[in-house]
Each structure stands twice: as structure tokens, then as C-alpha cells.
């Protein structure tokens, strides 16, 4: 057991650190000082495209991707070091996260030579942004029930249906699309994975206003959208398998990011608490608030070391064990509790939104608090995560 870095890893960390020091845009701290940056907000897109491009040119995007796909051929260890250094320096996250975390690794795993040549490089450079077309109005947790149809017509497929909760669809160039190609077989066996050009005729994107007031998600409608069969990834009716691979990468990618995001949010919360009085006393001196802050601190660290155990297994070539499956649950529970505590610290001031001169910290916590309600729904609900742990990790029977 050893928590120190090897000389190579230290050199990598130093290189990241000094690059970030020299290249962090001055405006970045103001632009990204939101205590949690779940998904970039509209006013940040242009800025973030440029930022990812710079990181890419410096060789810091796609660290674990193979070199022939434009990546760096490094290990998860470097990925973790990068995530931590970006958090420490409050660097903006990368915009094309769905491509880097999910679409890219899936194309690399299942793509034809042509697909592998065509897509990954532009994902890395942020020339082409990707979104994920999985969830539908009647297929969320039960994803395999999806009803969007793809009917063969010569060399093409004709797509009709609807997706929902599609992050970044309004700026995306490409979509990872799951559609039903065979309705006469068991539901998992009739799904195909398409790489869909979002500029295709018949694609309509409608922003979906959330309870935060923002519209970071969208509804996407398909009206006789034609896709060439060369755009299929991993074979006809093999989409469930391919889609699960994407989700596995999502969990891995998420694993590095969310630990760091929780730390950033906690640091922000501690800063806010230090500057906020509650009943005439600085919040960090209130014994109850201290207990709750300390518990979050402990949980964040426990979460980090549980992640470190999972990475150790990956580096040894083993599959991640139970410690990896628990990650999403832990993060959601911790982050929602953190956001509730932010409101508790502010007391009556928690009611005031950005725009009021009385609002604490320009009202940023009100937004992150509201946004955190989605955490236990997006990327697999908490109920589904508990089912997964119960059935696949503990081996309990299906209901």
C-alpha cells in the first residue's frame, strides 16, 4: 500500500500544474467559480470550446485513448492526476465531455477502421460536439423499452421518434443514438446504435426548461430522418451491448470527475460558511454546522479513497469491484446533503436569488441547490443504482 506517486507520475503532475499555471485564462476563475459545475451554462460555450482546444493542443485531452486515435496512451492514474490538478487550480472543465467520456471510447471499442479514423480526433479537439440519445419519455430507468424506430430503406434507415433529457443537443454536431430496428424480438435484442449527424433533415431540438429555470437539457424529435447504414456502430441489433459499454465508460469517467467535483463544492461551501453569520456567529463556529461540515469532509475523503481502491484494481488489470459500483450513490447522497447544508447555513437568506443585493454569494448556491435534485435521477436513478449493487454486486435475486 502506497499513496505516493512514482517519479514519472510526479513529473506528469508537475507538467500539468505548470501548464495550468501558465495557461489558465484570467477570466476562467470568474467564469467557472460556480461551486459545482455540473454541466456548462450557455454563456460559457464559446469560451469552453477554446479552452478544450488549448488543452487538446497541449496533450491533456484523451489521456487514456490509444495514440492512433489521437490520444496519449496513458493510464487511469494520469487521468486521475489531471482531474485533481484541474480541480485544485479551479480550471474550467472540458466541454465535449460526452464525447471524451463515452462516445469516443465506444467508437474505439466497436468502430470500423473508417469510423475510428473519422470521429475521435474531432472529439478531442472539440471541433465536433456530441450528445447522447438514450432516454425517451417512456424509457428512462427501463432504457431497453425505447420506442424510437429505425426502419431499413435500401442502404439507409429511416428514424422516427423522440428522445428527452438530451444534454448539449442544442449545440451538438453528433448524437449517440439508440433506436429499435427489430420490434419482433425480445426488447434488448432489437436495438441498434447509430452515429447520427444532428444537422440531418428532420431532426428538431427543443430546449426543455427545468425547475432551475435553465434549459441545459433538450427534447429531440426525429421525423423521417435518413441515416446511412455505414453510420451503425457495432452491428445491427447489437446496440444494447454497445450502449452498455458506453455506460460502463460513463461510470469510469464519472468516477474521476465526481470525486473532484465534490471536493470543489466542499471547498466552496467552507469558504461561504466562513463568510456567513448565522444567529450572529460565524457559521463555521456553530457547533451543529461544524459537525455537518466535518461529516461532509470525512465523506468526501472516504469517497476519494474508495475511488483509489477501484483505480488500483484497474491498474492491476482487475475489474473494478464493489467499491466502484458504490461511487455514484455516494456522490449523489453527499452532494445533495452538501447543497442542503449550503441552504441551512444561509438560513432565511437562502430564499433570495441572484439579482438581489441581499443574496449570499450572488445567489450561486440557490442554483446549485436546485440543480442537485437532478443528481439522483440523471445517469441512472438512485433506485436503479441500488438495484445494480443489490443484484450484480451482492448477488441478490431480481424482483
Amino acid at each position: 500500500m502506497d499513496f505516493t506517486l512514482t517519479p514519472d507520475q510526479q513529473a506528469f503532475r508537475d507538467r500539468v500544474r505548470s501548464w495550468l499555471k501558465d495557461n489558465l485564462p484570467a477570466e476562467s476563475s470568474a467564469r467557472t467559480r460556480r461551486p459545482t459545475s455540473d454541466i456548462p451554462r450557455p454563456e460559457q460555450y464559446d469560451f469552453m470550446r477554446k479552452w478544450q482546444r488549448r488543452m487538446y493542443e497541449a496533450g491533456f485531452v484523451g489521456l487514456t485513448w490509444p495514440k492512433e486515435a489521437g490520444g496519449q496512451g496513458l493510464s487511469f492514474m494520469e487521468e486521475m492526476i489531471l482531474a485533481e490538478e484541474m480541480a485544485l487550480s479551479k480550471a474550467p472543465p472540458i466541454l465535449n465531455i460526452l464525447a471524451i467520456g463515452m462516445a469516443g471510447p465506444t467508437v474505439i471499442a466497436y468502430g470500423t477502421d473508417e469510423q475510428k479514423r473519422r470521429y475521435p480526433p474531432k472529439m478531442l479537439s472539440c471541433e465536433e460536439i456530441w450528445c447522447q440519445g438514450y432516454s425517451e419519455p417512456n424509457a428512462g430507468s427501463d432504457l431497453a423499452s425505447l420506442q424510437t424506430r429505425a426502419v431499413k430503406d435500401g442502404e439507409h434507415y429511416v428514424i422516427n421518434g423522440q428522445k428527452v433529457w438530451t444534454s448539449l443537443a442544442h449545440i451538438a454536431d453528433w448524437m449517440m443514438l439508440l433506436a429499435r430496428t427489430d420490434a419482433d424480438v425480445p426488447k434488448h435484442k432489437g436495438i441498434t446504435y447509430f452515429l447520427l449527424d444532428m444537422k440531418s433533415p428532420g431532426v428538431t431540438v427543443k430546449p426543455l426548461k427545468q425547475l432551475t429555470g435553465d434549459a441545459e437539457f433538450n427534447e429531440v424529435y426525429f421525423d423521417n430522418v435518413r441515416v446511412h447504414e455505414s453510420q451503425i456502430l457495432g452491428g445491427v441489433n447489437n446496440g444494447w451491448q454497445v450502449g452498455l459499454t458506453t455506460l460502463m465508460y460513463e461510470r469510469l469517467a464519472l468516477g474521476f470527475g465526481i470525486q473532484v467535483r465534490l471536493r470543489i463544492a466542499l471547498d466552496g461551501l467552507v469558504d461561504m460558511a466562513r463568510q456567513t453569520k448565522k444567529g450572529g456567529v460565524v457559521a463555521t463556529q456553530d457547533p451543529i454546522i461544524r459537525q455537518k461540515l466535518a461529516q461532509l469532509w470525512i465523506d468526501t475523503e472516504a469517497f476519494k479513497y474508495t475511488g483509489a481502491r477501484a483505480i488500483t484494481k484497474l491498474l492491476r488489470g482487475e475489474l473494478p469491484g464493489p467499491e466502484a459500483s458504490a461511487g455514484k450513490l455516494m456522490w449523489v447522497e453527499g452532494h445533495q446533503r452538501l447543497q442542503e447544508l449550503a441552504m441551512e447555513i444561509q438560513g432565511p437568506y437562502a430564499q433570495l436569488m441572484a439579482g438581489s443585493e441581499w443574496a449570499v454569494a450572488d445567489g450561486i448556491w440557490q442554483h446549485t441547490f436546485l440543480r442537485s435534485r437532478a443528481n439522483s435521477i440523471e445517469g441512472g436513478t438512485t433506485e436503479i443504482q441500488r438495484n445494480i449493487i443489490g443484484e450484480r454486486v451482492l448477488g441478490l435475486p431480481k424482483g
Binding site: M1, E301, L394, L396, P397
Partner: protein, 378 residues
Amino acid sequence: MNFGFNEEQELLRSTARKFFENECSSTVVRGLMEGREGMTPELWKKIAEQGWIGLIYPEEHGGMGLGFVDLVVLLEEMGRAVMPGPFFSTVLLGGLAILEAGSAAQKKEWLPRLATGEARATLAWMEPSAALGPQGIALQATPSGKGHRLSGTKLFVPDAHTADAVVVAARTGGTGESGVSLFLLPTRTPGLEVKLLPTMDQTRKLCEVTLSDVAALSADALLGEAGAGWKPLGRVLDRATVALCAEMCGGAQKVLDMTVEYAKIRQAFGRPIGSYQGVKHRAADMLVDVENSKSITYYAAWAMDEGAVEGPLAVSMAKAYVSDAYRRVSAAGIQLHGGIGFTWEHDLHLYFKRAKGSEFTFGDATYHRERVAQLVNL
């Protein structure tokens, strides 16, 4: 970075698990806990023969010279077996105090005898005030001739009734950290009386130790320098806390294992109860508690081995987390078993009670959260 156990440690784990399954089954545990001693000479000898008592003591003192991470592996397995007896008090309290604060002569006299199982030792630090910091050490040691005379009461002293020696933390002057001194007293010293206390967790024997004008006059009665006992005592308590967390992790894992096993077999309304989400989801929460407990305990153990500056913080993070987690897991275990889990016959209550006792040993979660708050400058 490498956050896993090596092959030797994995081997130690499988050896220890097999050993306790054979030698310390639940039937044996129940026999030991009903008895006064909490251990049989035969089992103690077998444990000593494995080299486990001296696992972390240097080889020159009859130990194996292994690290704290190795000890954690062993303690997890002891916690899994909810093993009674003086292992913890001898190795991590009395023995560790001698190792941390003792002179070369004291170490030479005691550690090899502890390691072979010939002698047992414990540590008396808490008093009826139950205060955890240095201010809790109030037992008076009054200068007398070349030594001291001690009077006062120590409480919650594990296994003092079977120990050959007890390390007593006393106040030779001053307030707070300065003026705390450690005395190494044979338990047969005149004026030193031991009374066994009835405890909720019968697998853990706790005593009241009363000192009535006890003479600690010889040079080797003092462990370390007079007045400088808090620092080594703090180190001992930090290490013992991590060790306790490891035991708790092992116990929590065993409760989860028993519960999952039962939920697969027990039928209700024609289906195994584990197929119901009400049961399945609670089991998933137990797993999260167990895995996080292990992660933070292993990290603290590593910090102890490395002498890392963040050691005390790691200790308090671990004890705060694991105290709550083991309590939750052992309670959930009883709940998910239903009525059978509430019987004396089922082993769950052994773990539930061990969790409760451990929760308040070396400071509960509330105490350690405040310590974390202080250490991170909240």
C-alpha cells in the same frame, strides 16, 4: 500509488480467516464470553504461536517487525470472528505503550514475554469523567522519595483482570498535556484493585481499576519521562483507534455477508426476501457503508505506517465514519433478518453489541468530527 494489499497480506488474511473459523467459531466465542477471562490458555497459546501478538513489535523484542497495514488485515479477521480476549489490550494498549514510551530495559523485559503469550498487559487511561483529552487524566501521582504514590480510579480498562501489568496514565503536575506521566505497574502491586464490570458487549471485558496509595517507587515504575507521557499516549491511542476501526470493518463485513446470505434463502410471499427492493436497497446501503469504512481505515493505517503528518486527521476521519457505519450496518442486519435476528441464538447481537461498545471506545463520531473540524481549521 497503490491502494491495495500485497500478496503476503492477502496470504495473512486467508490464513487468519481459516484459523478463526477453526479455532474461534461462534460456539467458541459464546463459551469465552460467558466466562470470566474471555480467553482460554490453549487458544491464547495458538494465537501466540502464529506470531500475531508480536506482529508489529521489532524482531529484537521477539516480534515479527511487520507494519500497521499488516496488523489491520489481521484485526479485520478478528473483528469478523468477533473474537473475545486480551489480544487488543495486550498488543495495542499495554504493549504499544511500552513500545512507544518504554526504556530499552522495559521493552526487553516485557515485549518478548507479551509476544510469546507468557504475559499480558493493558492500559488504564480513562477515568469516571470519561473525558477524552489530556484534561481527562486527573488521577494523582504524588512525589514520594525517588518515585510517586498513586491514588484514584480508572474506568473502562480492558482486560485488567487478566493482565500481568497495567500502564496507568496519571497526573504528576501541571494541567493539560504537560504533567501527564505513564506508570508501568504489575497488577499484583499492593493497593491496586481490579473489579470486573458487567458489560453490554460480553466479548469485551472491561474493568474498574482502583489505586489506593499505590507505591510506584522504583526507577522502572515510570514509563518514559515524568510529565511527558501525553505525547506517547496520544500516539498509542491514535494507533489503537485505527486498529479498532479495522476490527469494526471486519465485523461490519461479516454482518453484511450473513444478511445477504439470509436474504437469498428466506422466503416471504413465495419469493426470496432479497428480491424485494425494500430489502435489496437497504443491503446496498450497507455495502456502501462497509466499503467506505474499509477505504478510510486502510488510508489511516497507511498514514500510521508512514508517520504521515495527516495521521491524526486520518485517524479521526476513520473513527467518525466507522463508528456510525458499523452501528448502522449491524442494526440493519438485525432488521433484515426479522425476528430471528432479535434472538439470543443468532450471532447478530454479538456484532450489534460490539458495534455499540466500539462506538464509544476512543471517542465517538461526534467527538472525532469536532477533532476533524479543528484539524482542518474549520
